[in-house]
Symmetry: D2
């Protein structure tokens, strides 16, 4: 089988380098081009010395003709870039996976409100498939354009889905208390992300409202069949990688066998691991790996359900999930290139 020719637009950020880490070891991928306006001409491994000996490419100027030679283009760009370039690529027969948020929200007014811009290609928003394989696998197979989910939305949706799909909890009273490592903030220079500022401290942010709120609500509403009420509080944790979502819901019937429900829901999922009852998922157990590990609790046998859901925000929460979507789109083994063992310790 011929290798898939892949391009990456905007490869200098953390999702870009993580895509590179995964793709250079993928058995069926040929990395054709990686673009960066700011670093054009520079060797990829000059910027990322971990790639010395693995990647010989240099960053190229973004260029439609070059990208059009690819079978698939990943956008690892800031929000608002992919929507400018995607229509032309689709027209040329190139399939697209956007790791940013341009195609995640179906309601354009909601999108504009949270992202502060007009959308450049509303028709493509309608066409785009939300790239959460555990829900949309069949649609992803044939998609020309996949909107790769956000990191918090991946952890929160995978944790809440079994409860909402089966209508087991009060859908108006959901709480998602989420904690992320600092790599979620990206590689831009900023004072709050300096090691002196972010290490040895813990804080909430975006309490009044965070862009991942409407994305999570859209996914959960889809699962529930009705709109949901959600309080989402993200926090910054002094570590590099990892998201831990602690999810709270009010059970309609506390006698449900939640452990069994979760195990059945994800029995065939290669990257969702429902841990044995009583387990405490650690983010480090998925560091560098594409797994989501989940545990479900009913503390003190009361009517509150607590779900713990962990991912690596750069893998299952970004680049790994994008490769998983690629595998599905191109009919490859879904786990190809993703059989990664978490780095522990």
């Amino acid at each position: 089988m011929a290798a898939i020719k892949v391009g990456i637009v905007g490869g200098t950020g953390y999702t870009g380098v993580e895509l590179l880490r995964l793709l250079v070891r993928h058995p069926q991928v040929e990395l054709s081009v990686i673009t960066s306006r700011s670093e054009a001409g520079k060797g990829v491994s000059e910027l990322y010395p971990n790639l010395r000996g693995h990647v010989d490419l240099a960053f190229a100027e973004p260029d439609l003709e070059t990208l059009a030679q690819c079978d698939l283009v990943f956008f690892a760009t800031p929000n608002g870039i992919a929507m400018q370039q995607t229509p032309a690529l689709l027209e040329r027969g190139v399939r697209v996976i956007d790791l940013a948020a341009d195609f995640r929200i179906k309601d354009l007014d909601v999108w504009s409100k949270w992202y502060g811009m007009e959308h450049a290609c509303p028709e493509q928003v309608a066409e785009a498939v939300y790239g959460l394989p555990e829900v949309y696998r069949e649609q992803i197979r044939d998609a020309r354009l996949v909107a790769n989910p956000g990191c918090y939305p991946t952890a929160a949706q995978l944790g809440f889905l079994p409860l909402l799909e089966q209508g087991l909890i009060n859908r108006r009273r959901l709480v998602a208390d989420c904690k992320s490592g600092v790599s979620g903030a990206g590689r831009g220079a900023s004072v709050p992300m300096l090691m002196c500022e972010a290490s040895e401290s813990f804080k909430a942010y975006g309490v009044a409202g965070h862009r991942h709120l409407p994305e999570i609500k859209q996914g959960l509403a889809e699962a529930a069949g009705f709109p949901v009420g959600l309080t989402f509080v993200p926090h910054l944790t002094p570590m590099i990688r990892g998201i831990h979502a602690t999810l709270y819901g009010v059970l309609k019937d506390p006698s449900d066998n939640l452990q069994q429900i979760y195990e059945e829901r994800y029995a065939d999922e290669p990257f969702v691991d429902v841990m044995p009852a009583g387990s405490l998922p650690e983010t480090r157990s998925v560091k560098g790996a594409n797994h989501c590990r989940i545990a479900v609790y009913r503390p003190q046998d009361d009517d509150t359900v607590v779900v713990l859901s962990v991912i690596d925000n750069l893998v299952k929460g970004a680049a790994g999930q994008a490769v998983q979507n690629m595998n599905i789109m191109f009919g490859l083994e879904e786990t190809a290139g993703l059989e990664l063992v978490g780095l522990l310790p």
Copy 2:
């Protein structure tokens, strides 16, 4: 005024060394004796080189006669020790502050269930005053025996109190999602607290039930005038010091001016800082300091209230609060020895 003669029982743990750090700079304290069965004879500053030049004492064998010379004895011991020795000290006229959990829970059955032992002196439990000055200041003044609150209970109670005292939220649907640095686990050698295990990772623990749950519920029920329903999930955060409590409640009347209510409740409190609306308290802002900083939110103008409450678990959550209680008990300025500025960065 004569200095207060102080003894510390069990000074080798982190609350012990933190007590030392505070007491050596306290203007009205004379540190008389510090005991440790395991380290007897060893210089305090051999174990804690940060105290070189500040403390000349050596650890002494625990001995009632020596302790009985003190005006006040702090117990910085594991649970179950203070209850053995406190009655004899009280009888000798020595006042006691227990930093462990022996006297915190009024219901002895509840205490025995969570701590796994029979209580050795039930009458003293009845006599003990719960050392949260923001609620029990007047009783602390005359107390012979003060039960210094736990770290999570301090952060959670200070955050929830204004809402429950005034009956503003549904007291059956409280959620306390709390995150602690690793110093809360103490200085005992254990695999899970190794740096290789605890750094660069995040996890929940004690989800099914944690000893601080009944303590928090007791305090909140006292404030509400009724029993409360609380889901409490503690998490381990990869940093040394600090607790961040994220508290969720369902408002009865979303039109309440929560900011004003919090500011008024704590207007006269020297160690509770209600931050301006929109603030995001960071644990590092209280690192080494006795303050609790609080922010209150109503996200998306909905009926859920979110309170953020941060403390240093070793200071306001342990040794600092103990010194604050000492100051109250002995009629000193409440802030004496506690005018500490958080170490930032």
Copy 3:
């Protein structure tokens, strides 16, 4: 080609789990047995949740008959264990790689002095090949028994070798100032390795003498052809993985083209990366990878040479190098299973 049947003795420590991470993805290895006296019967992935879905084995009681079925046995045990069991395995035709120090030092008196025990099998010490492929590749090919080098010795020797092999520096005045992450201390519960003790601090240790000193001196003397004088100071750095060796020597002839000498020395080495002049190797560039990255400097154009050499202590400094040795011993591609990209960020 038939898979190599591999056994691991003592698989519960960090070198053990790292071996597992590497071997489960190795295309030509069949992991037959992993033993642990303390955890016998427990599933490997219970202890190491990162291996859930990758390893189905349980820890077994150590047993000669089972191990004798293997083609190769790795010892990831404390010092002094491998020397007890190796002779019987060799006799049964099983090849052995010891990741501990039992077979590293040729001079038995020196070994006994530093390791505090009599050696159990002196003949095997004589037979053992020191497993630094960059020096002993040919002997490793046919070795029955390989002594896998220590972590500091790997970083220090690879850094110093070109200078000493060619006699470019004063061999009496070598300084190796080395810094290690905490995983080098292993997974045993100990107070100094608690996160509260080891994070946010930096210290030297073993200044008066460290067990890796004679090992480094033996290797450097072999390279120089004469005994060497070495001051070796190890330090503990607050991170999990990585060693950074900063090496100092006095040049005989400052006009030597050191960059070229290093590049030529390691031109054919798959795992030694001589970085371009002026580079600053970061330990994170090899986190999880088997590479050693080196930069060489002559500061201020003076007669002192400074070599910077970084490895991941658990990979090139332990498990990765052991797999590299296995590949050589069994005639496999030397890089098989080791094409790992460092996890960055």
Copy 4:
């Protein structure tokens, strides 16, 4: 005694906030003004929430008239600012302590080469006293202008001084292998100091040449009475505060009693702690404190001396030493406001 009126120019960086932390608790200081061009008008505690309740000042525009009302002005500015403003302040009778490098190097050509600018006031360079109290205490007393030493130079000089003052080592073969926490890099937004980049990694920098090299050499030459040969390699360590200098020298006479020599040299120094033989100073033992702790070794009884010297780069390496200099200049108790216990854990 009237309080000393103090001004701070450039108070938004880490040395600025550290000065504030020390000065607000200093019994004889009145903080009059703190300037910042970029943050003028903003409350100090808005930028540094640890100061809430301790400092009510707002940042002011820099203004000569206001500063001229002070008895003493600290410059906590980038290099090149203090030299512009110092002459006018001195003329108005204000004494000055510069925490930057403008007045540290006596040789103007050397200064210009390393700092890349012409000096604005050469006469003041000649007048300035180098603010290392352990050497220049008497001159500091009467100084109008004190050049506060750099962080690495403080740790390295205090470690080497006894050896060079007494001519015990070969002054041509000095090695200073130094490790610093990230706060030394300041609070400017930069990619390399992001937590994602700087944590969980270790690297050298400035190997070819670092600005502190000529400063250290100047001080050591002064102590030795002759020029010295020094190789200085700074490293970045993944922690916030602390410098660990590992210093190497070649002894002329290995029979010297180094421990005694060090103890005698620093017997009367309030902030230099020569630890008992065999000690391993940890940077955390001085976290937040003004002490330098030193241990001296002769490994393997050979002719190499190894000195370990630790400080908090923001305290003894910057703000604390500046306050110590202030105390000396104004005839206060040298330890006033500096009786700080290191924060441990």
